[in-house]
């Protein structure tokens, strides 16, 4: 996979994961054009389209578009499964996920994605394992925050 974009029906970007090195300007241009292209598609059209030299796979879940750019030799149908799996993970994590969850907890959306895909490839095919990993990371985060917030540490500054 080259990149994945999540955006709303109004074209507002909610998540962008780039697996290829591009300048900020190029990323913005691609995002703008692709969002326009996908939003212009009618509801009954198929989920695949050719754009520049890439294959684009997109699917709409409620008010969010999930859009992936894959290479010529990649399998479009399995990419649809990748998108669906990601949505399921978000759903399990947030409990009946909606766009607002992803807006207000965008870092979490990234963390979940990073436990499912790595370098543009699928790293874990078990839903359970992905969610477990996130859970453990969240716990670890909570622990460290509690540690540093307890009174005994207020006077102590570490040099970073």
């Amino acid at each position: 996979m080259q990149f994945m974009l999540l955006f709303s029906r109004q074209g507002k970007l909610r998540l962008q994961k780039w697996y290829v090195p591009l300048s900020d300007k190029e990323k913005k241009k691609i995002t703008r054009e692709l969002v326009q292209t996908v939003l212009a598609r009618k509801p009954k059209m198929c989920s695949f389209l050719e754009w520049r030299d890439l294959k684009i796979v997109y699917k709409r879940y409620a008010s969010l578009y999930f859009c992936c750019a894959i290479e010529d030799q990649d399998n479009e149908l399995i990419t649809l499964e990748i998108i669906h799996r990601y949505v399921e993970l978000l759903d399990k994590y947030f409990g009946s996920v909606c766009e607002l969850d992803i807006i207000f907890n965008f870092e979490k959306a990234y963390f979940i994605l990073d436990e499912f895909l790595l370098g543009g490839e699928v790293q874990e095919t078990s839903k359970k394992n992905v969610l477990k990993a996130i859970e453990q990371a969240d716990l670890l985060q909570e622990k460290t925050e509690n540690m540093y917030h307890s009174k005994s540490f207020i006077g102590c500054k570490k040099a970073y």
Partner: protein, 785 residues
């Protein structure tokens, strides 16, 4: 002093509450100022919150480069919270184009070697997302160490990071190759999946690695077989299909290993057949696996039966109610239509049905595929379907559909009349969308088919009378009416409705075309010339024509003006040669698929001239070589099968040669026939560079007192020769040295056998029919040696 700043959630809410772009910008600018201040001298404990806000703002499109150094600091912090946000920031804000990116290399190295597992995970994730070539060089050994660590959580990430490293620095492949063998024994799906991906990457980049891994094909086959057969674990399954992600990845690797490798292909044949037949296809997951299987089958050396199975699966996909599945099926079939033509042909009806798709990307693919499936046996049925489609298809597909139909017609037309009808239909339905050479092609076709002249001119006249807006149609019709106006007015043509046309009507129609706003300048040129030609074809006086021509002498369009002035001159000063100049045109030669084949319906067709024996099944990739056919057994002169040119257009050198007046031939002319003042002369040319080719120009002259009419010359040559007759310049030689008839023969004589020619002449002279058959044996030796 740290200014009070918003929490992330509050900031997001405030931004969303902004009613205008300007308001939003204001909120964000204010907050960014806070963030900058906080970065400078704020509490390190809250740094991660500030960065998080900055990352949100960055996603909205605002600049965030001043956060780059903060990412570095957060990554270097021992706190997990800091690292989590810091690494996220690095992935979003830092990339290999920033100089700062190298600075995180050290932190990553530390985290990889000393961090707890979640931290190692973060580091690996970041490296595999934005790691530059330099970073990969520096960190490759650290990653390699993690490949064989006990924890699968870290191992699976390390493996995929290795994939990224290889993509960036292919030379580092050697570091990771050795571990693959051991990793293949993994049971953990994530690790196994990563391993397969790594091996795939290695094989794609290095032929040596490819050969190395071809040895593990049996092992891969076993892994996939186990996956498919031993029930399913709910943990990894989707809709009853065991870990489709892993299956697809294995199939892809098998494809790469089996390609061009007989042994590997054989090892996987059974398994592929098993997967192809047993995978549950009720949901997308199963179809995804099936699709990958089909791609693999088609790419390796699979048994013929397996290939047919694969194509049939694609055919079934075409009937699936899921649009996405139909799409991938159409794409794949399009790729296969050349190599597995007959297998794909079986699904032609389904493909044609797909023309009705509402989704433009599907109907476009269906159109491409349909055109690729047209062959000589289905051309009539397919053209009907495609014409129906042309009438209702969306505008952006019209041009492709029209040119596709015309091309198919050119290649596979069973008869010239059918060909003409097809082109006519396309021109009337989608005239504005056809390519420019359609006009030339149709005029060429009509001119070359003498038996169709009456039919053509009537059909075109009727079409023109109905509608003068479609320019290509108007141009062809105008030309035709000009050339064959006499046939339009006289007698009946059996193949069309009886049509009574008055001279005045014809002139009026052409004038209408001339004057219409819709007519392009080129069209008006055609119409004017046609009017002029009619001056010799029609019987009435030419007052009306002369009037029109003189009016256009002062037309603003320079081209029309020039023509009109010249035609005017023809009327006034050069009336005596007007007839000769406006004579019927000889066939214009071009390097296209037009060969002087005799159509089945042509009763005047020379039974003695041999049609070239041809294969009926087109081989799209083979260039048709006329010379090969000389050895062919079938020489049935009645066989109407059309010549099939390769898509490249140019046939044999034979057709590319101009038939323009032959250069003065060093070979002496030969008088072969004389009777009562009617003489037949042959002149010979052997064009340099084509020793097997001989061009003969037959000239018929008449020095007698009576006209020669209805003159037809037919010819036959020995079996080893190839003969092609071109249309004669006419069939009348007026008395007392009137304009002779000329006709060009083309003879291929690759064996350099002595040339013998048998001629049969039929004509009317002095009111009596004459028939002469004779052999020409005394041709100069230079014509065939």
């Amino acid at each position: 002093m740290v200014a009070p700043s918003l929490k992330l959630q509050d900031l997001i809410e405030e931004i969303r509450a902004a009613k205008t772009q300007a308001q939003e910008r204001e909120v964000i600018q204010k907050e960014c100022a806070h963030i900058r201040a906080s970065f400078r001298d704020g509490d390190p404990l809250h740094r991660h919150r500030q960065l998080a806000k900055l990352l949100y703002v960055h996603m909205l499109g605002y600049p965030a480069h001043f956060g780059q150094m903060e990412c570095l600091k957060l990554i270097a912090s021992p706190r997990f919270t800091d690292k989590r946000v810091g690494y996220l920031g690095a992935m979003l804000l830092l990339d290999e184009r920033q100089d700062a990116h190298l600075l995180i290399t050290n932190s990553i190295k530390n985290d990889l070697s000393q961090g707890i597992q979640p931290v190692q995970g973060l580091a690996l994730c970041t490296l595999s997302t934005m790691g530059s070539a330099e970073m990969c060089q520096d960190l490759a050994t650290e990653v390699e160490k993690l490949l064989l660590q006990p924890s699968p959580y870290v191992r699976k990430k390390a493996i995929l990071t290795a994939v990224h490293i290889i993509r960036k620095v292919p030379e580092l492949s050697n570091i990771f190759l050795p571990s693959c063998a051991q990793l293949l024994h993994e049971r953990h799906h994530g690790v196994l999946l990563g391993t397969i991906t790594l091996i795939t990457e290695l094989c794609e980049r290095s032929p040596a690695a490819l050969r190395h891994f071809q040895k593990v094909v049996p092992q891969l086959v076993q892994i996939l077989r186990t996956l498919v057969t031993t029930g399913y674990s709910t943990e990894h399954s989707i809709s009853g299909v065991s870990d489709p992600f892993l299956q697809v990845q294995i199939l892809r690797l098998l494809r790469i290993l089996g390609r061009n490798h007989e042994e590997s292909s054989e090892a996987m044949n059974d398994l592929l057949a098993q997967v192809a037949t047993n995978t549950d296809t009720s949901r997308n997951a199963g179809n995804a696996v099936l699709f990958e299987t089909v791609l693999t089958i088609m790419d390796i050396h699979s048994a013929a039966g397996l290939r047919v199975l694969a194509v049939n699966i694609l055919g079934r996909f075409l009937l699936n109610s899921d649009k996405n599945i139909r799409y991938v099926a159409l794409m794949s079939l399009l790729r296969l239509v050349q190599s597995d033509h007959s297998a794909v042909q079986r699904h032609r009806p389904t493909v044609v049905d797909c023309l009705q798709e509402t989704d433009a990307s599907l109907s476009r693919r269906a159109l491409e595929l349909s055109l690729a499936l047209v062959n000589s046996s289905n051309v009539r049925a397919m053209t009907r379907e495609l014409q129906a489609f042309l009438e209702s298809c969306p505008p952006d597909l019209r041009a492709d559909c029209a040119s596709g139909i015309l091309l198919a017609a050119e290649r596979f037309a069973p008869t010239k009349r059918w060909h003409m009808d097809t082109i006519l239909h396309v021109l009337t339905t989608a005239g504005t969308y056809v390519r420019d050479d359609a006009v030339a092609n149709l005029t060429q076709l009509i001119a070359g088919a003498q038996e169709l002249h009456a039919y053509s001119v009537r059909r075109l006249y009727s079409a023109l009378a109905e509608d003068i807006s479609q320019q290509p149609l108007v141009q062809v019709a105008a030309w035709c009416i000009g050339e064959y106006g006499d046939l339009l007015l006289e007698g009946n043509c059996e193949e069309t409705e009886p049509l009574q046309v008055e001279e005045e009507e014809v002139l009026a129609l052409l004038e209408k075309v001339l004057q219409s706003h819709m007519s392009l300048p080129a069209t008006r040129g055609y119409a004017l010339t046609a009017l002029m030609k009619l001056s010799t074809r029609l019987r009435g006086d030419n007052k009306r024509i002369r009037q029109v021509v003189s009016i256009y002498g002062s037309c603003l369009d320079v081209e029309l003006q020039q023509r009109a002035v010249e035609y005017n001159a023809l009327f006034r000063k050069y009336d005596h040669i007007r007839a000769a100049i406006l004579e019927k045109m000889p066939l214009v030669e071009r390097g296209g698929p037009q060969v002087g084949e005799e159509a089945k319906e042509s009763k005047a067709a020379a039974k003695l001239s041999e049609a070239a024996p041809v294969p009926t099944e087109p081989q799209a990739s083979k260039l048709l070589d006329l010379l090969d056919l000389l050895d062919g057994p079938s020489e049935d002169a009645q066989h109407p099968s059309p010549l099939d040119p390769s898509p490249g257009g140019a046939l044999v050198q034979l057709l590319d040669l101009p038939c323009a007046p032959p250069r003065p031939a060093p070979i002496p002319n030969l008088k072969v026939f004389e009777r009562e003042g009617v003489q037949l002369n042959l002149s010979f040319i052997r064009p340099p560079g084509t020793p097997a080719l001989l061009l003969i120009t037959v000239t018929v002259t008449n020095s007698s007192g009576g006209d020669v009419t209805h003159f037809i010359c037919q010819a036959a040559v020995p079996k080893s020769f190839q003969l092609q007759l071109q249309a004669p310049s006419g069939n009348t030689v007026p008395a007392r040295g009137g304009l002779p008839i000329t006709q060009l023969f083309r003879i291929l004589n690759p064996n350099k056998a002595p040339l013998r020619l048998k001629l049969r002449l039929t004509y009317n002279h002095f009111g009596q029919p004459v028939q002469e058959i004779f052999e020409v044996n005394n041709v100069p030796v230079e014509t065939w040696q």
